[in-house]
């Protein structure tokens, strides 16, 4: 049967050569190559669940009086968007499951990208020829964060209202174009009668289309360049070692998709997320107590709290206080991320070569130390985003907690750098015979390679 279909297709597209290559395509077996796949499959789940939500969501800021099956909100003035999400959660079959799966999948999507990025960084997989894919990947991270923010901003609840006001202030603070950008994105103020429709358009169309297009490019480049290999016997710059796409890798990968789906489905059913009926509808005069953004924006929220209350005046120009922690700091973080392959190139000896065998983190003490330090800094910023909650839990004043976190923001990365650097040096030092295991070139494979290259 597959013969018949294959012949039918081949007589129209001439696919036999490509098909053979595709079936034989080799994927490495190391678990850390699955991190990117988890991100990919989370995105697939986001699209699937998002399509279902789209059937029931009403992206409108019109005010209505709620009269529905959730009695606690009966008679409350809400937006159409909020009403439709409450309806979706209580009256649509599997609506709450799909909505919670969508939210969990978004959290896991960004998390998987971040962990995947760390794997790439610490093993120097971004090196030539994979710089383009690093740049695409960093862009995907930014888009994922942005779309996650848009997603939890559209239901018109009290928590999203706080996030919207803060985002409006952040956009407003951008020099020259800020007021116009904020006006375009949100309308004349927050809340406005146009913001949900605008954010929704971005959330379900433009940003997902960009993510999908970049994902295709990301995967296409991986297909073209093959994956990297961890160092080991037979792992050279001239070959790729692992399982074939058909059937082993196919089974494993579809299996992984099912497991990711199962995990997110179970979370969606068992673990409540973003219960907007408890938060209540947005009310511009009120704020959700101890409001926190979704985890991937915690570092920006934290930076806003850590940054001292100063702004800059240059003549009549104002650089508002939120510009520094919430615009320039994230821009700086992403600029550094984008620059990683090019900074690395300056310091690495064989920068002109193709790199297909990964480095172990311990082989690059400086890069590993700096990466750990940068990550630690963002973790401190993340916790600073909850400084009021920490203060309540610790029974201390917010001022004290914030002072300690400001110190930690610099001390923790420094200590992390020293520890991780020394750990790498120590891992490298005592066993020179172990080094032999990680030598990249192995004479016994070159003969095989010479034969296959002529093919």
């Amino acid at each position: 049967m597959i013969d018949l279909f294959g012949s039918w297709l081949d007589s129209r597209l001439r696919l036999a050569k490509f098909a053979r290559k595709a079936f034989n395509h080799v994927f490495p077996d190391h678990w850390s190559f699955m991190l990117g796949e988890i991100a990919l499959y989370s995105f697939v789940i986001l699209v699937l669940t998002g399509l279902y939500l789209m059937l029931f969501f009403d992206a409108s800021d019109s005010q209505v009086i709620y009269h529905g099956s959730y009695r606690a909100l009966d008679g409350v003035l809400v937006t159409d968007a909020y009403r439709s999400v409450i309806h979706l959660s209580f009256d649509v079959r599997a609506g709450l499951l799909v909505r919670q799966m969508h939210h969990w999948a978004a959290l896991i999507f960004v998390a998987a990208i971040v962990v995947h990025l760390m794997r790439i960084y610490f093993t120097a997989a971004y090196r030539r020829p994979r710089e383009i894919n690093w740049l695409i990947g960093v862009t995907l991270l930014a888009l994922a964060i942005f779309n996650g923010y848009l997603g939890y901003s559209v239901p018109g609840d009290l928590l999203s209202g706080a996030g919207l006001r803060i985002a409006y202030a952040i956009v407003l603070s951008i020099p020259l174009i800020g007021p116009w950008l904020a006006y375009m994105g949100f309308g004349a103020n927050v809340p406005s009668s146009v913001m949900t429709a605008r954010m929704y358009g971005l959330h379900i169309c433009l940003i997902p289309a960009l993510i999908a297009a970049l994902l295709v490019a990301h995967l296409g480049i991986i297909w073209r360049q093959f994956h990297t290999n961890y160092p080991g016997p037979g792992r050279t710059n001239e070959s790729i070692v692992g399982s074939r796409l058909w059937p082993t890798y196919t089974a494993k990968s579809i299996g992984l998709f099912c497991l990711v789906f199962a995990f997110i489905g179970a979370l969606g059913g068992l673990v409540q997320i973003n219960p907007i009926w408890i938060y209540g509808p947005d009310n511009p005069a009120a704020i959700q107590p101890a409001a926190q953004p979704d985890w991937y924006l915690g570092w920006i929220e934290g930076a806003m709290r850590l940054f001292p209350g100063v702004h800059l005046r240059a003549g009549s120009l104002l650089f508002p206080e939120v510009l520094f922690p919430a615009v320039l700091f994230p821009l700086f973080v992403f600029a550094v991320l984008y620059a990683v392959p090019f900074i690395d190139k300056i310091f690495s000896a064989k920068s002109d070569e193709q790199h297909h065998v990964l480095m172990l983190p311990s082989q690059r003490p400086l890069a590993t130390g700096l990466g750990c330090a940068a990550f630690a800094m963002l973790v401190v910023a993340f916790f600073a985003g909850s400084d009021d909650v920490i203060a309540i839990a610790a029974g201390a004043s917010v001022v004290t907690v914030r002072l300690i976190l400001r110190i930690l923001f610099f001390v923790v990365p420094a200590v992390t750098f020293v520890i991780s650097y020394l750990a790498c040096v120590r891992l490298n030092r005592p066993a020179p015979e172990d080094w032999e295991r990680y030598r990249v070139s192995r004479p016994d494979t070159t003969a095989v390679l010479g034969m296959k290259c002529s093919d």
């Binding site: 103020n189 037979g234 074939r244 299996g255 179970a266 005069a285 005046r313």
Partner: protein, 359 residues
């Protein structure tokens, strides 16, 4: 080309026969799988190996075997069968819960079971029943051979020659592109007139009464010392931008700047309720310290001395609203806020406010 009817029939018949025989073969193999349980591992692994001709053609003949079959194939197949049956069971469970209008919790559990079992089954199939072979494929050099590059460049140059000759047309194309860019950019006008009208425009006018959300006027007797009320201009009740917090403090404690000495009749002070840091409502008033607290980032503003920020990330004063009391005791605005309310932007005019961040 379209096949003749009899061809079509033959193909169809062939297809049906093929399908039936394939199903039969599958059934035979499955039963054989289970019946070989307990037989030697060597027999099982022989069974799994494809015919030598196919192996040679596939280019996989040299794949290195890395996994040794330890237990019998039958037991392994049984494990995968159990997993797949669990997946079917979970799916049926989901259908039952869904159609009977069951809880979200049960829906999640059944989704988890069905997909979890299916995923486990597939991974087990790959690990237990497929050949554990390590394949090695050569990487093609990513840089094209020199002649291919030269040919590509020549093809480009052959066309470029024709384009570059027409300097005028190339220049005009750039102009057209620039015009289109200007058209696209100018379409931001569709969003409205001008954001600055809202950002810098007047919020309060002299003589406007302070109204509550319920539309009641505030008078000198409306609040006790230490109490607060959110008020609006009469024409903008409920407005986010115009929301104002009215507080009654002990007038003896007031330390307002000299030019604001008469802004707080009877100890009534009024400030913009929009935080100058990130725009959250500055709703919490602590009367022991006379501070307004923003719940978002914990900025605090002193209401006694003109809304100066005393802590947290805010740098600019809360804009103050000058007040007066008219002949019948109603509280009214004596003018607009001391500065445009809300978070800062690049051309927010400097004020004479005694703010922390102001030079």
């Amino acid at each position: 080309m379209s096949p003749r009817p009899e061809d079509h029939n033959r193909t169809l018949r062939g297809l049906t026969v093929d399908t039936i025989s394939a199903v039969k073969e599958l059934f035979k193999r499955t039963t054989r799988d289970i019946s070989t349980a307990g037989r030697g591992a060597a027999a099982a692994s022989q069974q799994a190996a494809p015919p030598p001709t196919i192996l040679a053609k596939s280019g996989r003949a040299e794949d290195r075997s890395i996994g040794q079959p330890a237990r019998s194939d039958g037991l392994r197949t049984f494990a995968v069968v159990v997993a797949f049956l669990c997946a079917v069971g979970g799916g049926i469970g989901f259908l039952y819960v869904f159609w009977s209008g069951g809880t979200n919790l049960l829906l999640g559990v059944t989704v988890g079971i069905s997909f979890g079992a299916l995923g486990c089954g597939l991974v087990l199939w790959a690990h237990l029943l497929m050949e554990q072979r390590e394949a090695t494929e050569p990487r093609e050099p990513l840089l094209s051979p020199r002649d291919e590059r030269e040919d590509a460049f020549a093809s480009y140059a052959a066309g470029e020659h024709q384009v570059q000759r027409r300097k005028l047309l190339v220049g005009l194309s750039t102009l057209v592109a620039g015009t289109f860019a200007a058209v696209v950019v100018s379409m931001v006008r569709a969003f409205g007139k001008d954001p600055y009208l809202a950002l810098l425009g007047t919020v309060w006018k002299r003589g406007q009464g302070l109204m509550t959300l319920q539309g009641k006027h505030m008078t000198v007797n409306s609040l006790r010392v230490g109490d607060t009320m959110t008020v609006f201009p009469p024409n903008r009740i409920g407005s986010v931008h115009a929301q104002t917090v009215l507080i009654r403090v002990n007038p003896e404690f007031l330390q307002l700047p000299k030019n604001r000495a008469n802004w707080a009749p009877g100890g009534y002070v009024a400030y913009s309720r929009v935080c100058t840091h990130a725009g959250c409502p500055v709703g919490e008033y602590e009367d022991t310290t006379n501070l307004l607290l923003c719940p978002c980032h914990q900025s605090t503003f002193n209401v006694l001395n003109g809304g100066v920020p005393t802590g947290g990330p805010a740098a600019r004063n809360l804009p103050q609203l000058p007040l007066y009391v008219d002949s019948d005791g109603t509280l009214r605005a004596a003018g607009d806020f001391s500065a445009p309310p809300g978070p800062g932007f690049w051309n927010l005019p400097p004020t004479a406010d005694p703010g922390r961040g102001e030079p």
